[in-house]
């Protein structure tokens, strides 16, 4: 059996060769017999003489089956399949020392790396789930505002915004009063979009969006103030940016753990990620409800509006979609929210009569 195979780099011809190392060169020669009967390199049998200083081992000598030896700058290759000869060459020729590289037992490396991976996944998850709780407020406000404005522009591109000055001043005045009461240091802006649905939402950067139908269908001003206070709860807890960070973080983790190879896994985890986002959504809503009520009470305003608004929603839809959707809902069951936010109808009104009238007519 040949000791090694030599490829000249010009053609795909294979020459079975023997190898002799001297202090200055590696002699590669064709021989009829290898082993004990090997006559050694005769002039006519020499295939190549490679200076030791120009030798190199290509690639990953630890993992490749038989890493090729080359003369730097050339295309020719010497592949030594015989492990004993590889070790011998490595000990004799310093530039070929990599040929003797032997990895630690695979089981040991797999166990170490597997444990490291499990620990890293856990740390990453914790960083995403809990880290955002603390990191979100530190995200530059200008960045949050810029993101919020971009999303807002996209959302309202085909909708009409209401411009009633007095009404907008009234709702923005109350929003900022509530935000200041919570110690929120930035300006909050409320936009009102004409039409439905009966809804309001919060974007990063303290941008609140109300649909005019919510204001039109509210039974009284306390309900609008209650919804506004709830949205301010989202603002002061940085919920929008936390939600985005968590969703992006878990998606990134799934991609990283799959090694960047498995679209299947990404598809699978995106389903889990939606459930996670919805779970986050329910937790955020509970927190915003509690904060909204607390802020209204802190300012001495009527705090029964949130529960009143939910009761009105429940009257319209007795089936309670949030309850029916269970784990698939972004909001907690409405009855649970009513119970948690129920307050007496005491306190001063959030809007004066004139402000409330202006707010009702903000789109006219």
């Amino acid at each position: 059996m040949a000791a090694a195979r030599y490829y000249d780099g010009v053609t795909a011809q294979v020459t079975e060769v023997g190898v002799r190392a001297t202090a200055s060169e590696l002699v590669i020669y064709r021989a009829a017999n290898f082993g004990a009967a090997d006559p050694g390199p005769t002039d006519s049998a020499i295939v190549a003489r490679w200076p030791v200083a120009e030798l190199a081992v290509l690639g990953d000598a630890v993992h490749e089956g038989a890493p090729p030896v080359v003369r730097r700058g050339g295309e020719a290759r010497l592949v030594v399949e015989d492990a004993a000869l590889r070790r011998q060459l490595a000990s004799l020729v310093p530039p070929l020392a990599a040929l003797a590289a032997a990895p630690a037992p695979a089981a040991q490396r797999v166990a170490t790396l597997g444990a490291t991976l499990a620990a890293l996944v856990g740390l990453f998850w914790l960083a995403v789930d809990y880290g955002t709780e603390y990191a979100a407020p530190w995200l530059p406000y200008s960045l949050q505002a810029s993101l919020g404005e971009t999303v807002f522009d996209e959302l309202v591109a085909d909708k009409d915004e209401c411009h009633g000055k007095r009404g907008l001043a009234a709702i923005n005045g109350l929003a900022n009063e509530l935000a200041r009461a919570a110690g929120y240091p930035h300006e909050v802006t409320v936009h009102i979009i004409e039409g439905g649905p009966v809804n309001a939402f919060t974007l990063p950067g303290g941008i609140l969006v109300f649909y005019s139908e919510l204001i039109e269908q509210a039974k009284d001003r306390a309900q609008v103030a209650g919804v506004l206070a709830h949205e301010i709860g989202h603002v002061v807890h940085h919920h929008p940016i936390k939600g985005i960070a968590r969703q992006y973080g878990i998606e990134l983790l799934a991609k990283l753990v799959s090694g960047g190879y498995s679209d299947l896994l990404n598809t699978l985890t995106s389903g889990g990620n939606i459930l996670l986002a919805l779970r986050n959504g329910r937790a955020f809503e509970r927190e915003a409800d509690a904060t909204g009520v607390a802020l209204l009470e802190k300012l001495g305003l009527r705090a029964d509006g949130i529960a009143g608004f939910f009761e009105q929603m429940l009257e319209k839809e007795p089936g309670d979609a949030a309850s029916a959707a269970g784990i698939w809902s972004s909001h907690p069951p409405t009855r649970e929210r009513i119970a948690a936010t129920q307050r007496p109808a005491t306190g001063r009104p959030a809007f004066s009569d004139a402000d409330w009238k202006a707010l009702r007519e903000v789109c006219k």
Partner: protein, 396 residues
């Protein structure tokens, strides 16, 4: 392999096959794969750990390391393949694709500013235009990326020290593939043999080992009869599977007196018991599905694979495969399940299984004349796989 039924006998005297002299000796051989699963896992886990630590930026080097291992543990005619790509080349390829996409984004911004903005289409936002345009160009670009990625991989692959390569235009392939896929979709998949053969042809006949080109002598007409049989059997199997699943589910729910409301409640507020029952039902549905549908699909895919392999050659070397429906099931279905059920960590196992399958089921007949295969002058693309990375990261 040299009788009258051989595609090469049939095309002798015309087409690419005539460029090669008839092989006097068709000594059979198979590739040898001597990789070890434990080693592969050690490399893969290191790659995943580094992916998390670098937030994914190490993937170019990790992918390269995996390829080096896999390529070098696969040998044909006693000579191992080499993978000589570099992580840096993949990184630059990726960055170039990002720049290209950014330039496209800039172009779309100009279109939006000067064509749509403040016009009757003002509701069409810049992100809408960008997303829509990427969706439209993404489909052909993914094919372009696949072909260009194959070219990169082959250009970094050496056998006996000789570089492999892939000729032909990736853009042309992308256009043909897009057209054929679209045509196949609007003809209810009846053009599948045409698509399969015409997309295999450029990938096979443009492949090179040094100066030795591969050749492909397949024709869609050869496999249409089998495909039509598969097509209608498949429809019948789907109907049977759906009827069977409904019969089982309907019988089960009515037997236990479960109403629609009860089912809704089970879905929306699942307990551990519900999850276990759902998993059992899913497993049952999978068994029905896999018994009726998947074997048919694997039967067709195994046939197609055998056809494509046996109609390819590299100079005097002919290829053949006797892959069975069961082996194709292991390749298509079991590998899928391994990746999904192990949450991606089964990927090295899948690669290992695939290379073992190739080593056991691919036969080569004949030996190439090494002296006649020269080193190609062209070194292949300088960077690689940017588009592939952008649109589809699957596959080593």
């Amino acid at each position: 392999m040299t009788d009258a039924t051989s595609p090469w006998a049939r095309t002798a005297g015309s087409g690419p096959a005539s460029e090669f002299p008839a092989a006097p000796h068709l000594a059979p051989s198979r590739p040898v794969y001597d990789g070890r699963l434990g080693e592969l896992y050690a490399i893969y886990l290191r790659h995943v750990v580094l992916m998390i630590l670098t937030l994914g930026w190490s993937r170019f080097w990790g992918r390269t390391r995996l390829r080096r291992y896999l390529w070098n543990h696969l040998a044909v005619l006693g000579d191992r393949f080499e993978y000589r790509g570099r992580g840096r080349e993949l990184l630059i390829g990726f960055l170039l694709a990002v720049v290209m996409l950014a330039a496209w984004g800039g172009l779309m911004w100009l279109v939006w500013t000067y064509v749509f903005h403040d016009k009757p289409f003002s509701s069409f936002g810049i992100l809408d235009i960008f997303s829509l345009s990427v969706a439209v160009i993404g489909f052909p670009l993914a094919y372009v990326g696949h072909y260009a990625g194959l070219r990169y991989k082959l250009s970094r692959t050496r056998w006996r020290g000789i570089r492999c390569g892939l000729a032909g235009s990736a853009w042309h392939y992308g256009m043909v593939a897009t057209f054929l896929t679209f045509a196949n979709a609007i003809t209810a998949q009846l053009l599948t043999p045409v698509v399969s053969v015409n997309l295999a042809r450029p990938r096979i006949s443009n492949a090179r080992v040094g100066t030795l080109p591969f050749a492909f002598a397949g024709a869609a007409s050869d496999i249409y009869g089998r495909y039509i049989g598969y097509y209608f059997l498949n429809i019948a199997a789907w109907i049977a599977a759906i009827v069977a699943v409904f019969a089982i589910l309907g019988g089960t729910t009515s037997e236990f007196g479960v109403s629609t409301d009860d089912l809704l409640k089970l879905v929306t507020e699942p307990s551990l018991r519900t999850i276990l029952i759902a998993a059992a039902i899913a497993a049952g549905a999978y068994i029905v599905f896999s018994l009726l549908i998947l074997p048919l699909r694997c039967w067709w895919q195994a046939y197609l694979f055998r056809y494509l392999v046996s109609h390819s050659r590299a100079g005097p070397v002919l290829f053949a495969s006797a892959i069975t429906t069961r082996q194709m099931w292991g390749f298509l279905v079991l590998n899928y399940l391994i990746v999904v059920l192990t949450l991606g960590l089964g990927w090295p196992w899948v690669m290992h299984r695939t290379l073992k399958l190739i080593a056991s089921e691919l036969w080569l007949y004949g030996v190439p004349d090494g002296a006649a295969i020269g080193q190609p002058a062209h070194r292949g693309p300088r960077f690689g796989e940017g588009l592939l990375d952008m649109f589809d990261v699957s596959g080593v």
